[in-house]
């Protein structure tokens, strides 16, 4: 077995036993990247030298007996997280050569735990998209099928897991951007509770919805990563000061006493029959594990997409105003006036989808439209939140598909933004409600594309998600299935 194909927990164990060194592990990962990257295109920036130097330092630390939780383990992160040693592009031309002057809090936590960051992963520009086709650099491809989308916006992060290009990765999730590519690529992805993980250094798309979370090869790794990245941060006023449990303790066999809700609103029209089949089979496995399965209702689900596509662009239109060419990033050099400089910088620096959303958001916040759009959307958001409050009085978690279909071909829906927006319908509500959500591999389509199951729980109840996902993983029997990558 090659080192790169180990899980995070397995590699950690091998390092601790002294069977391998971090340098060996990192070299294995780097050669794996070199081998498969032309096919999957997951990375925007790779830091080979830095990774090897960090690996050597990690080996020294381990010998000195001061190894942190993730000491010497090579990881990769979505290019939306600020790194002081690597450029942070957000998948955008406007930040092509931007090296942040600081590390995001989660990056600092990873580094403090001894992790090695080998590179920055591809994403839709400013996390706006669900296929990575809006990445200004490279479009990652689904490791399970050439020419198929990896999902998005954390597509690179999911691909890096499925293709064994790092041991774990971080993504960000604003409307499903971790869970959807995790599902399409057959890996585990968790969007934690809003406030569970610091957003400081996560380049903002929609501040009230964004959350950093792990994408991993299995559920145990997800718990390990959550242990490291969670916690209150004084630099993020929206992070919550509530104790961080040992998430790996949640991985218990059996679901006795766990009540699982199945909302019919998530199994409605447009759902691919294969996806439904896989998810329903998964629900049966959870029942076999001891869970009580019951139907629950989330009546405002149909408004989620509309609410999301007002609130997220509104916040984005403001969050992206800082890319004005004045202090950093791309600046149009051929402008004769300030207004022209702004206009040319932003016209050339941003891609079409970003511009589309900035325009929608600007419109939604404009005088005369604010009440009808942004304000009304905020009110409906409260109703959606209340739906979940009611449901979590009746059950501990809600299960559903993650996406209406498995992965599709690159370019297939690229000209139909509305169709893409609608495909976010099953993941958006967790962000609007601020609750945790997770995608865990549940099966495959007939054509060999992965299909995930989504689990959502009440605020700060990540543990029940991990426990249920762990039980599905144990019973689904697909954990060892890997894509064929030359």
């Amino acid at each position: 077995m090659e080192f790169f194909s180990l899980t995070l927990a397995q590699a950690k164990k091998q390092l601790e036993l002294g069977n391998i060194t971090s340098v060996q592990l990192t070299e294995s990962i780097l050669s794996r990247i070199a081998a498969v990257e032309p096919r999957v295109k997951a990375f925007i920036t790779l830091d080979r030298d830095g990774a090897l130097a960090q690996a050597e330092a990690a080996d020294r630390q381990r010998r000195a007996g001061v190894a942190g939780e993730l000491c010497g383990l090579p990881l990769a992160v979505k290019d939306v997280l600020c790194t002081s040693t690597m450029r942070t592009t957000c998948g955008s031309k406007i930040l092509e050569n931007f090296v942040p002057p600081y590390d995001a809090t989660v990056i600092k936590k990873l580094k403090d735990a001894g992790a090695i960051i080998v590179g920055k992963l591809a994403m839709d520009e400013f996390a706006m998209g669900s296929t990575c086709e809006n990445c200004a650099y490279n479009v990652p491809e689904n490791p399970w099928k050439p020419g198929y989308v990896a999902g998005g916006s954390s597509g690179g992060s999911a691909v890096a897991m499925a293709a064994d290009e790092s041991l774990a990765s971080l993504g960000s999730d604003t409307g499903g951007s971790i869970r959807q590519p995790a599902s399409l690529c057959g890996v585990v992805g968790m969007k934690p509770t809003y406030g569970r993980v610091s957003r400081y250094g996560l380049v903002a798309f929609a501040s009230s919805l964004d959350q950093v979370g792990p994408l991993t090869k299995d559920v145990r790794d997800c718990a390990l990563m959550m242990n490291v990245i969670s916690g209150h941060d004084q630099r993020d006023a929206t992070s919550v000061d509530t104790p961080v449990p040992d998430y790996t303790a949640a991985l218990q066999d059996g679901l006795k006493g766990v009540r699982i809700g199945v909302p019919p609103e998530y199994f409605s029209q447009g759902l691919d029959p294969e996806v439904e089949q896989v998810v329903r089979t998964g629900i049966e496995m959870l029942r076999e594990a001891g869970a009580e399965i019951k139907e629950v209702s989330l009546p405002h689900t149909e408004y989620c997409v509309a609410v999301y596509y007002l609130i997220a662009p509104a916040e984005a239109s403001s969050n992206l105003a800082r890319y004005d060419g004045v202090r950093y990033g791309y600046r149009a050099g051929d402008a004769d006036s300030l207004v022209e400089m702004y206009s040319k910088t932003r016209s050339r620096g941003f891609g079409d989808e970003v511009k589309r959303r900035v325009l929608i958001g600007t419109y939604a916040l404009s005088a005369g439209y604010y009440d009808a759009y942004y304000k009304k959307a905020s009110r409906v958001r409260t109703l959606i939140r209340d739906d979940f409050k009611t449901v979590f009085d009746q059950c501990d978690l809600v299960v559903s598909p993650v996406t209406p279909t498995p992965a599709w071909m690159i370019g297939e829906k690229a000209d139909d933004p509305l169709a893409l927006y609608l495909s976010d319908i099953l993941t958006i509500s967790a962000n609007l409600a601020g609750i945790p959500g997770l995608s865990v591999p549940a099966g495959f389509s007939g054509s060999g594309l992965p299909i995930g199951m989504q689990m959502q729980a009440a605020h700060f109840n990540e543990e029940v998600l991990l426990r249920a996902a762990w039980n599905l993983e144990l019973r689904a029997g697909i954990k060892d299935r890997k894509p064929e990558l030359g």
Binding site: P100, G201, A237, T238, E315, R322, R327
Partner: protein
């Protein structure tokens, strides 16, 4: 036609806090460009604001001092617009739920007192500064000031004259200085004011078309700009014209208002609640803690000065114009028990050199001034000599006893020593002596003056008077 002036003021008071409103950078004025900055106030990608609670406390204090109603739930909002001195492309301010609303302060103009309504006060961050270098095509941005906390205080359109506007401005200025929440420095821009001004025919209810005045960085300029604008608008209206709604800048060199250059855009700031900042809840306990920390404010202190020290309203008003001056007065009063005389001395001698705001810079301690006045009472020096001594005190900060001793300024009260001089003066001025004896007693002043000249002002005037009366009454020898 008679017109009524309608003025409303928007005051921006920079809060006196060690660090900025949303990051840990220093708020110190005058540092080299872009040295008090960090990723947060530079608007780097990924950064988040964290509220400095001191700013909220300052705002609560102002609210309590101006009878504003404090909103228990406070929200910050984003005000979106593009400008190079605004790093994030939006200013974090307050919109729908400001910290406080519906307050008032009392002003006095020409003896008439009037309440002026305050619409609202809200917290916000300041922008940076553009520096336009001469002979260079580029402009530069200094972001040291970006993120400095401001309190915006908006008045009702209740002010009816430039005098009232300045009185109101001074009142708010005194209050923020008393509260020690702003240093109120208008030159450095830590206390700024914009004015909305319009005229309407006397007796009309609806407002006329207003202009907005900016760039008035002193009380004097506010007065001059408003007076100019009243004249200008009146002329326009009397000519049958219409005032154009526009923003005007006061040009202090040319003593006139001028339209702001560049096109006036109708800004749509697209305010919405800032999702990065959770609401701030202000509970009763917090308010009461702030209330307990409030100092005595200008108006109550003025009242107390009138009753406790038996001072005229005018004196009490001057002495309480700043907290420092009022403190100065009270400290001096602790050792010198003639408040009115002290007030006179401060009003004429001290304030001529140091205005109410600059008392802190005065080298003469209040105890020393009190000592000087006691020396007059005791007859050690004359009032006239005291002024000389005081001038020396202002220069060196030396105690009055030391100056009097060093310069040999002790008053001559020895009748024996003065008697000879008195006799001599009477002898060489027979004509004036005769005048006195003829009943023109006013001429006594002439003789005392002569004596003062000979003694370099050190003769005790009471004794001099007495001796001359005796000598002149005695008649020619």
């Amino acid at each position: 036609m008679e017109f009524e002036t309608v003025i409303g003021l928007e005051i921006h008071a920079q809060m006196k806090t060690r660090s900025k409103i949303f990051c840990g950078c220093s708020t110190e004025f005058g540092a080299p460009p872009n040295t008090h900055v960090c990723p947060v106030c530079l608007g780097m990608p990924g950064v988040l604001p964290v509220l400095n609670r001191q700013v909220v406390e300052n705002a609560i204090k102002l609210a309590l001092a101006t009878e504003l109603t404090i909103n228990r739930e406070n929200r910050f909002a984003r005000k979106n617009y593009f400008y190079p001195d605004l790093p994030k492309g939006y200013q974090i301010s307050q919109f729908e739920l400001p910290i406080a609303e519906h307050g008032r302060v009392e002003i006095e103009v020409d003896g008439a007192r009037r309440w002026i309504g305050i619409t609202r006060a809200h917290m916000e961050e300041d922008a940076g500064k553009l520096i336009h270098a001469e002979h260079e095509p580029e402009s530069y941005v200094d972001l040291n000031r970006a993120g400095t906390p401001l309190l915006e205080i908006v008045s009702e359109p209740d002010l009816r004259s430039p005098d009232e506007a300045v009185a109101y401005l001074k009142k708010i200025h005194a209050i923020v200085r008393y509260l020690d929440i702003s240093d109120g420095n208008m030159q450095e821009g830590s206390f700024r004011c914009d004015a909305n001004i319009s005229l309407r025919p006397m007796g009309r209810q609806e407002f006329g078309i207003r202009t907005e005045l900016k760039n008035m960085n002193s009380f004097k300029n506010v007065q001059l700009a408003l007076e100019y604008e009243v004249r200008r608008q009146r002329d326009v209206l009397l000519d049958g014209g219409e005032v154009v709604q526009e923003t005007l800048l006061w040009n202090p060199d040319k003593n006139r208002t001028e339209p702001m250059r560049g096109k006036e855009e109708a800004h749509d700031y697209r305010y919405f609640p800032d999702p990065d900042l959770p609401p701030v809840f202000i509970d009763e306990e917090w308010i009461e803690r702030m209330r307990a920390s409030l100092p005595e404010l200008p108006d109550p202190r003025r009242q107390r000065f009138m009753t406790a020290f038996d001072l005229p309203a005018y004196d009490a008003g001057i002495l309480t114009a700043s907290r420092e001056l009022a403190d100065y007065f009270e400290t001096a009063c602790a050792t010198y028990d003639q408040p009115k005389k002290l007030s006179n001395w401060i009003g004429t001698e001290l304030l001529r050199e140091y205005g109410p705001e600059r008392i802190g810079e005065c080298p003469v301690r209040p105890e020393s001034l009190a000592r000087l006045l006691i020396m007059i009472e005791e007859g050690a020096i004359s009032g006239k000599i005291a002024k000389t001594v005081f001038a020396a005190m202002l220069e060196s900060g030396t105690e009055p006893d030391v100056i009097v001793k060093e310069k040999g300024l002790v008053q001559m009260s020895d009748e024996g020593a003065l008697q000879a001089l008195v006799q001599e003066i009477v002898a060489v001025n027979p004509a004036q002596a005769q005048q006195f004896r003829d009943g023109k007693t006013k001429v006594l002043g002439f003789f005392v003056g002569q004596l003062m000249q000979k003694t370099k002002g050190q003769a005790n005037p009471q004794i001099a008077n007495k001796l001359f009366r005796q000598a002149l009454a005695a008649g020619p020898e």
